[in-house]
């Protein structure tokens, strides 16, 4: 069961740089780590920490109030690169619930949705405005309303966004895909029986 998501008012951190790769969000050496709260530490690890483990003061998430951010406002093609889902687990463990950007790496976008993190695509102009606002007015919160599909900026400007209705429903109810799918078990079984008969050559090759 995922945490249902309807509304959120929270501090937002601007993350600078287009084409932010999943490798940067979550360095590859943490790939083999078992899941758990430790993932919060891995987020942007090499930007956040020096080699000796101390914080890099220049990184935004090490600065107050951004340290407590639950929303990230990023630049275009955020989460591009490899399918690395650890990037999403680490965002979730850090406490991020929403990422706003003009565009996302495709797999990253869906990894967010499957893991209950809301990715919001807005036009480049509004995103640039939001980034400016959260920089100029540190700590002033952004509002995200999934029910109304709007983001509210610090100056109360509202930005509508689009999201696939079935994903929206799932996020709002906190439904996990497997639950939804098991409700279609009869259809799947019927499909499978026909498929395995029609494509019989797939099922009698060498093991």
């Amino acid at each position: 069961m995922l945490k249902p998501f309807k509304h959120l008012t929270a501090i937002a951190a601007p993350i600078d740089g287009p084409d932010m790769e999943t490798d940067v969000l979550f360095p590859s050496r943490f790939l083999k780590k078992p899941l758990g709260p430790e993932y919060a530490e891995f987020l942007f690890h090499d930007l956040r920490f020096h080699a000796d483990g101390t914080e890099r003061a220049d990184f935004i998430l090490n600065q107050d109030p951004y340290r407590a951010a639950s929303i990230i406002v990023a630049e275009r093609n955020f989460g591009c690169g490899s399918a690395r889902e650890g990037a999403v687990y680490s965002l979730v463990e850090y406490g991020v619930r929403v990422v706003i950007a003009p565009s996302f790496g495709d797999i990253f976008y869906f990894n967010c949705l499957t893991n209950g993190l809301l990715p919001i695509r807005l036009e480049a102009g509004p995103v640039a405005q939001l980034r400016r606002h959260v920089k100029e007015l540190p700590g002033s919160p952004l509002g995200v309303d999934l029910e109304a599909r709007t983001v509210t900026g610090p100056n109360d400007a509202k930005y509508p966004f689009e999201i696939d209705p079935s994903w929206r429903h799932r996020l709002m109810e906190g439904l996990d895909g497997v639950d939804v799918t098991l409700g279609h078990a009869a259809e799947i079984d019927a499909f499978e029986e026909r498929y395995r008969a029609d494509m019989a050559w797939l099922f009698n090759g060498d093991p």
Partner: protein, 470 residues
């Protein structure tokens, strides 16, 4: 109603849906690998069994040592543990395991086609984006996440939104010395690293038709680097011949039935695409990357680009940052860039034709920097050894290893020294991909071998002896 190949395969596998929202798709075959331990963990937490173990295939590639085939050869205990976990999870769930010591082992995207697991018209998934490679056979191969992989393990289905369709047409004769890798890099630099975002790409045109199966795999492998989630090529006689006698491919009457289906797959002539791109293959030259995205690629005879000449402010900044990371000066000739290390391998260029191309260059000299040759699979390794390619590499001072992802991802013991510059046949040159501060230049196997012989980026067409017997 005329249909694209993508739509034909998509519709064939749709269980529920078909409208604008999500469709529930039936998965023909699902590949899992050593990074899949999260997926198995999620499954266990839910107490669910694997629905179709016989439609699931497992192999270890990312964390394996290229120095040996025993799990004990993996030095790092955490890496050893995840390889071990794959073996245990596969056994516990009854999934056919192509384990580390199996003669069929290899990088998942190399063995998929090699073993005939990938076939035209199938819907294949793997929690790794470069599964797109398998689209070269006319399959729909979709990279998914580990949580989605759990969903497939539990239900043999997947919810997906239908992407838009882009056709990339390549016509023209590729000039001497231009390989599939150069074509792939040229395509990424034309489309841009997010230009195909939200799209599935079908590669078409006379140039693509003329490519071998392995060359098509290189092109589809890098479809991901344009932001697409899928790359595919219509199946034809080249595809059908390639599949003959592969262990998981059909034979006898099964093959006749399969062939009847496969022949229905190519896109109907009047089907429409959401986007069309065309590239003149006659204008492509051997390519190298200079920056930190695969789209930062230029012909080898160019110079390092100058950010001040770039009009778009955002691109200008990105370019300056790339040059700073890569420690390159605008205007310098690419062929003057000295390198410290060479990597030949990966799911982009670790197949037998790649090793043949590299060996043909390697036989003309001696490596002056450390150079690693890592076959994409154990069968590729055996084939190369049968052809004597291993001797050529070893005699030229290259290291000859066991198969695995190796230096493509640098999480398995193979790594560059921080700050080094590596000529690599892999598909990603993002900052730190091959180790901290490591600067990666992507290129073809022949170009990488040429760089090993000279110690700097080199136009293989100008290398003494290249392309000839020497």
């Amino acid at each position: 109603m005329p249909k694209t190949m993508f739509d034909k395969i998509w519709d064939r596998h749709t269980v529920v849906g078909g409208g604008d929202g999500q469709s529930l798709l039936y998965i023909s075959r699902h590949m899992v690998y050593d990074s899949s331990f999260h997926s198995f963990e999620f499954l266990k937490r839910r107490g669910l069994p694997v629905k179709r173990p016989d439609q699931t295939f497992a192999t270890a590639d990312h964390f394996v040592s290229t120095l040996g085939r025993e799990i004990s050869a993996i030095e790092d205990p955490e890496s050893r543990h995840v390889v071990d976990l794959l073996h245990t999870n596969a056994r516990d769930c009854g999934i056919p395991l192509i384990g580390l010591d199996d003669p069929r082992q290899g990088i998942i995207h190399v063995i998929g086609p090699e073993l005939g697991i990938a076939q035209p018209g199938l819907l294949l998934v793997c929690a790794d984006s470069h599964i797109s490679t398998l689209g070269a056979l006319g399959a729909l191969a979709i990279g998914i996440g580990h949580a989605e992989s759990t969903h497939v393990l539990a239900t043999q289905t997947l919810w997906q939104n239908k992407p838009k369709l882009m056709r990339v047409t390549l016509a023209g004769t590729r000039p001497f010395g231009v390989t599939a890798k150069d074509i792939a890099l040229a395509i990424v630099s034309t489309i841009g690293v997010s230009g195909a975002s939200g799209h599935a790409i079908e590669f078409a045109g006379s140039t693509i038709r003329g490519l071998s199966m392995e060359e098509r795999m290189t092109v589809c492998n890098m479809a991901i680097e344009s932001g697409a989630r899928v790359g595919m090529v219509a199946p034809d006689e080249t595809t059908f011949a390639y599949l003959d006698d592969r262990p998981f491919a059909p034979r006898g009457t099964g093959r006749d039935r399969a062939l009847a289906y496969w022949r229905t797959l190519p896109t109907d002539s009047d089907a429409g695409f959401d986007a069309e791109v065309s590239v003149d293959a006659g204008n492509i030259a051997p390519m190298v990357t200079w920056g930190i995205t695969p789209g930062d690629a230029l012909p080898i005879n160019s110079t390092v680009p100058d950010p001040t000449a770039e009009r778009d402010a955002e691109s200008r900044t990105a370019m300056s940052q790339a040059l700073e990371y890569m420690d390159l000066t605008p205007g310098a000739r690419l062929t003057d860039i000295a390198i410290d290390r060479v990597f030949i391998g990966s799911c982009t260029n670790g197949r037998i034709e790649d090793l043949r191309a590299a060996a043909q260059v390697a036989r003309c000299g001696r490596a002056v920097v450390p150079a690693l040759v890592v076959p994409g699979s154990t069968p590729v390794k055996r084939q190369a050894e049968a052809e004597g390619l291993d001797r050529i590499f070893i005699d030229a001072g290259f290291e000859w290893r066991h198969s695995g992802c190796s230096l493509c991802v640098a999480i398995n013991g193979d790594t560059c020294v921080p700050g080094e510059r590596c000529a690599s046949t892999s598909n990603r040159n993002y900052a730190h991909r091959q180790g901290r501060g490591v600067r990666t230049h992507l290129m073809s196997p022949a170009m990488a071998a040429a760089a090993a012989l000279t110690g700097h980026l080199t136009d293989v067409r100008r290398l003494e002896g290249a392309g000839r017997e020497c």
